[in-house]
Amino acid sequence: MRPFAPDAPRPGRRKLTVLALGAVGLAAALTAAAFVTPDRAAAAAPTYVPGDPAQVIATVPPRDPGEVAARRELGSAPDRVELAVELARGDIARYRTLSDPRYLGRAQATLGRWWQLAEPPADVLLLRATIEQSIHQFAEARRDLDQLIRVRPRDPEAQLTRAVVATITADYAAARDSCRAIAELANPVVVAACEAPLDAIAGRADEAYARLARLVGAARSGDAAVRGWAMTELAELAFMRGDSDAAAAHLAGALALDPDDAYARNLLADIWMATGHTGDASRLLAGREQIDSHLVRRAIAEHDLHGAGAARLVAAMRDRIAAAAERGDRIHLREEARFTLAVDLDAPRAVRIARDNWTVQKELADARLLAEAAVAAGDRDAAAPVIAWARATGVRDATLDRLLARLEVMR
């Protein structure tokens, strides 16, 4: 025994330790090797034959005789663009109410004859841009909208869509132009709701909030959809200013107008999760998990709460991410980054996904996400694009400011 190592393990014990560590390492490596196998999806689901003829196998929208007739008419006269546009509008409306992306693909197919044209009719341009925007092809959507506005500068729907696409891609000057163009065409609430996110990103959330709140208060009645949208904008502004109670109240108002407003519901869940009301957030989304953006939030909430359904929800979300990847879709990046950060606790990977997402869309939520992932990863450089964006815009947001301050001290 050497005098300076009285506690040195006996040789037999040491050998066993090495053996045990080696064994565990080997087993872990083998396990990892099988888990990275790419062809897990290859296993087919088991089949069954229902015993009851009355059993409902699938639910679809009830048949609309007008639509059936229009489709038949289009079939016999396939170049009647006004029919195709009317049918595609119906599909897009169905996509919005059901949040089922299948109907976007149907709308695109209905417009198939004009889809590849460089200069399709103006109505087709608008719908093509709408579909492209929905599947995050923002550059294509923008090109179509610019082209459309050249022929139809006074089309409020075109200008509004252009304002949205330009805001998402951080082209604030173009968004501002479109909001101004709407000023002559629509009521002041719409204009204020169009400009509010631009003002907020320019660091003027207080003024934007005051203006929009005044206009919404003055227009007591009015279109429910516009009102709901304006209230959602108010909520975003309030949350940026750090007033989560006011934000939650606005969102409750928006949901009272339309319980199926997925955007408002997500925002309310986010605010509740950010302020420690995770259980409320989970209940808010319960039963609506067929919508991915609801599912990811509920999975994270239940995971944080160690809830009974957590494992099932987390598995379902993993399935959705895998299914999207399998068909080559990358429009889940925001959800995927968030899930990777909150459930997998894999900050470096979340950073990579959030950075990919930032190249596609640059909304405040995307900035917060990348900053949050960078904070978790302890990687200030990863957040460089967001830091530069915040500097360039002068944006003030309670959540982002807090995250950026934490990144600042990491230097």
């Binding site: 639910t59 197919a109 997925a262």
Partner: protein
């Protein structure tokens, strides 16, 4: 102004709904394998998609019942036959669709139909001409799975998949490893036999084993016996000499887990290798049903069997290698006693419940 607002109302509604990408876009799954000169496989198409193409909801109420679907079956078959063609090395094959059933996927019910195409010779490449649904849904995708690789079909253009001869045996090894690790009953069975191996009977009483070598020898005997036993039954049932109903096999496997756990509690049989052999025979039948589900190619039976069995042994070895040192390490502690007694009792109860469930299922 009102007209503008009506338009804008639509605009506002989708501004709010834009980020909600929901449900799943339309996918169909086409899995193919080669069996001699025949291409076999299965096509799964969402019932909702078939309704979009063919209008299966006869009464138009938005609910597609099994009755409506069955009534539409001939039209579905005609549609699929017209729009999906398989060929080999540039030549057509004689194609046949089997009896359809339903499969429940994460986003609803799918029409699952077996497909087989006999070709002039064993294909070196498969030609797939797939023209389902693209005309009504531009975002439809066909996901073609062949030989462990997935091809995304984005339009109706035909594709050719080159087959790599060497992949199949290797893929069966992976399946074997995978199967034993996700098969909790095999893991528990093996654990029940291995955990007590660090204890040995000395004359009339049990005591912790002194040498790791003795323990390893006993574990080696157990694992070898289990391997031999399940290999025998795996082979005889995979080549079709014996066919047992899977409900009975699964029930018996659960009972075997319970028996191994109870043996730890009651210590009826000391020779655990004998237990491993006798009950391991049952597990082989379970492995073979997995292998058959994977679409066992009859001409490559030996390679697939060897590969799969090798995979099972590898997976099993990894479990033993991970478990044994830990158990040996803690064999004199209270933790070990707790693991042995409470663990065996729990496994026995759970396994009995499983066997009941599998029996009534």
């Amino acid at each position: 102004m009102r007209a503008a607002l009506a338009v804008l109302a639509g605009g506002a509604a989708w501004l709010a709904a834009a980020p909600a990408w929901a449900h799943k876009p339309s996918d169909a799954q086409l899995r193919l394998a080669i069996d001699g000169d025949t291409i076999t496989g299965r096509l799964d198409v969402a019932v909702r998609d078939l309704d979009g193409a063919l209008g299966l909801d006869a009464d138009g109420n938005g609910e597609i019942t099994w009755r409506e679907l069955s009534a539409g079956a001939p039209r579905i078959t005609a549609y699929l036959e017209r729009r999906l063609t398989l060929g080999a090395d540039g030549a057509p094959c004689v194609q046949r669709l089997g009896a359809p059933a339903l499969a429940e996927l994460s986003d609803g019910a799918y029409w699952a139909v077996p497909i087989s195409a006999s070709c002039a010779h064993r294909p070196r490449s498969i030609d797939v001409s797939y023209a389902l649904l693209f005309d009504i849904d531009s975002m439809h995708r066909g996901l073609l799975h062949v030989a462990g690789q997935t091809t995304i079909l984005r339009d109706a253009r035909p594709v050719r998949i080159e087959l790599d001869e060497t992949t199949s045996a290797a893929s069966f090894v992976k399946e074997g490893v995978w199967h034993i690790w996700i098969g909790i009953d095999h893991i528990l069975f093996l654990s029940c036999l291995i955990v007590p191996a660090v204890f040995q009977r000395r004359t009339r009483r049990w005591a912790a084993a002194d040498s790791l070598r003795d323990v390893c020898r006993e574990v080696f005997e157990i694992v070898t016996a289990f391997t031999l036993a399940h290999s025998i039954t795996l082979v005889i049932s995979a080549i079709g000499l014996v066919a047992l109903p899977s409900r009975w096999v699964e029930t018996a496997i659960a009972l075997s887990v319970a028996a191994a756990a109870l043996n730890n509690l009651l210590r009826t049989i000391d020779a655990r290798w004998a237990v491993a052999f006798a009950l391991g025979l049952l597990h082989g039948f379970g492995f073979s049903s997995v292998l058959i589900d994977l679409g066992l190619p009859s001409h490559e039976l030996i390679g697939a069997l060897l590969g799969f069995n090798l995979g099972v042994e590898l997976g099993q070895a990894a479990i033993v290698v991970a478990l044994l040192p830990v158990v040996f390490w803690i064999r004199r502690t209270v933790a070990y006693q707790a693991l042995l007694w409470a663990g065996s009792a729990t496994v026995a109860i759970v396994a009995l419940l499983w066997s009941y469930q599998r029996y009534v299922a």
